[in-house]
Symmetry: C2
Subunit: 404 residues, 2 copies
Amino acid sequence: MATASSQPVYRATTTAPVNIAVIKYWGKRDTTLNLPTNSSLSVTLSQRSLRTLTTASASAKYPAEDTLNLNGKPQDIQSSKRTLACLSNLRALRKSLEDADASLPKLSTLPLRIVSENNFPTAAGLASSAAGFAALVRAIANLYQLPQSPRELSRIARQGSGSACRSLMGGYVAWRTGEQADGSDSLAEEVAPASHWPEMRALILVVSAEKKDVPSTEGMQTTVATSDLFATRAQTVVPERMDAIEVAIRDRDFPKFAEITMRDSNTFHATCLDSWPPIFYMNDVSRAAVRLVHDINRAVGRTVAAYTFDAGPNAVIYYEEKDSELVAGTVKAILGASASGWEGPFYEVLANVTVPGVSLDNIDSRVLDVLKGGVSRVILTGVGEGPVTVEDHLVTETGEIVTK
Amino acid sequence: MATASSQPVYRATTTAPVNIAVIKYWGKRDTTLNLPTNSSLSVTLSQRSLRTLTTASASAKYPAEDTLNLNGKPQDIQSSKRTLACLSNLRALRKSLEDADASLPKLSTLPLRIVSENNFPTAAGLASSAAGFAALVRAIANLYQLPQSPRELSRIARQGSGSACRSLMGGYVAWRTGEQADGSDSLAEEVAPASHWPEMRALILVVSAEKKDVPSTEGMQTTVATSDLFATRAQTVVPERMDAIEVAIRDRDFPKFAEITMRDSNTFHATCLDSWPPIFYMNDVSRAAVRLVHDINRAVGRTVAAYTFDAGPNAVIYYEEKDSELVAGTVKAILGASASGWEGPFYEVLANVTVPGVSLDNIDSRVLDVLKGGVSRVILTGVGEGPVTVEDHLVTETGEIVTK
């Protein structure tokens, strides 16, 4: 039997970011491969605020079955077809390398131990699966020293969770729907790096987290199957918006970016409402956030803020840093001490703001009450980079899970 | 100068009903003539519960200008183009009669005094304009002894308020969009009389009446101009639903009627949400009513209830009388003493109901809380007849307004 020293533990660790779509992914044309009915586009959020940290390790000393530990809890990956699909795709790529170069250690034959941690609470209602699968794919790709580009790896991450493919890159990321039945051209690509338009900020209003009514995967398939309006969005509306928002990003045209973002969020939720039975993700607090943004824009006289809502009630409000007082400053004045989270790396510009950037006389008084009662927490962040390789391993040199 | 006796007061009085659409009217292709972008279909509600009572009178002794008194208050009809259009159309028809028969009194030359009363509070958020304009047109048509059918008169009522054209008839009424630019074929017609399917009941949940955010006329034009999904509904979805719901009515197929009704309400509100800026008429209480209906149908195992929402948060729940306990009985058990209005001609079947027809264990507990907190009043009614000529005049024989 081999000694411990002959059973090395191979490790690689990465972070991966959350992304928030401005053109929404909603609907699969292939549920196994996670092929979408329409292209989508997102902003990658800074990992200084929100990130998943994942270590992938491989060793002959591990039990034969791959394992995944998430936030301190073992996960049942054997029953997760999506995770298994990612692992087998990555192993196959490693195997090709090993077949071509006999000097490489046969990592593809070793069991994997994957350990992952989010630095944000699941209860915040943020789509953690995107960052999670992006980190998993990126960490294993690093472990296996795969030469594939993030764009090529996005084909694999997509199979874990559709939107995960967009978390493999920073800045402004498009996921092209593609045309091939095997999904080989359904890939994410960076439209512009974060450095192209670094002033983009995002303020997340965390609305008291009731259990989500309909899980996304189930919800989107209900919409595809039943909404009479869905095909119009997927086939006509989104392609035009994709073109237009890429131009807006190229030109750093915030008002145009903002209008497309808000309209696409509304159209997405409209197709949910048009589903059978209808799906509601936005609630009265979400609607108050919509009103707030329109009221702020009207009061300022230009479009300084844009809302978007994923499959849940949380509002994400995009704005440019120069308008921090007008947007985030106004929200801060409204929420006062009723919401936590006013802190972190993007807070400095607001630390000394005590009066709203926009007089609250401009905001509907019901909106003020509903927001104050319904937003428990905020997350202040901005556009950021893609996954980063780090040495902060969650598995020790000898293969033990790091307990924090 | 003529004596009083030579200046007779001509009078005619009618009632007119409220109608609630199951295929919604939303969008005008001609705003002056109130020509719709799509056909619609409604259920006329019983005047034993809700009705407008209107007396039209004409006399040479009246001041020269036509007047309208509504719920005890003089209205400024000279600045209401819609009212003036109705009056001038009706006068022209009377004039034709007078021109053809010289023995007829020249009522078309006399000032009109119109007095109208609703038996339901405006605050209930019910579309009173439909019943109001239907009663106005019917009363004057009676006063003028016009030979035109309700279908022909609907052309005139439509110009007062689009949905008013459907309140000129009882039972199940379609408003055909028509194709002519002058609106001559945009008319309402009875699809089936109330007696064809008299078991239809409607329970209106009156949701605390905040001021309506966007008036219907403004809202529908915003949708037409800005929603990318609107054309699909108007051109494709509604024509199919019109055909299908007419079949459902013909066959008294409640489950089919119910599904089309609910889906069209959802599609209508989806196009509102897809408008720019977005329009929200449903709130969290409305959503709770949607859930309630789906939960009741699921618990019963067949479709016994259907919701629909106009341009406001009130829910109208349709059901058949035989299912009163299952539907209205369950709502009554949920609301308990927190909502008034459990009374009137349709209440008898429920008077002794003390337990919910569907166990409340089948209803989401949040839904129960939201409904109990948000529904202040109910109106229990059913399908009913069209306008009825009555002798309960609101103007005396000598032309005075009756003070009640």
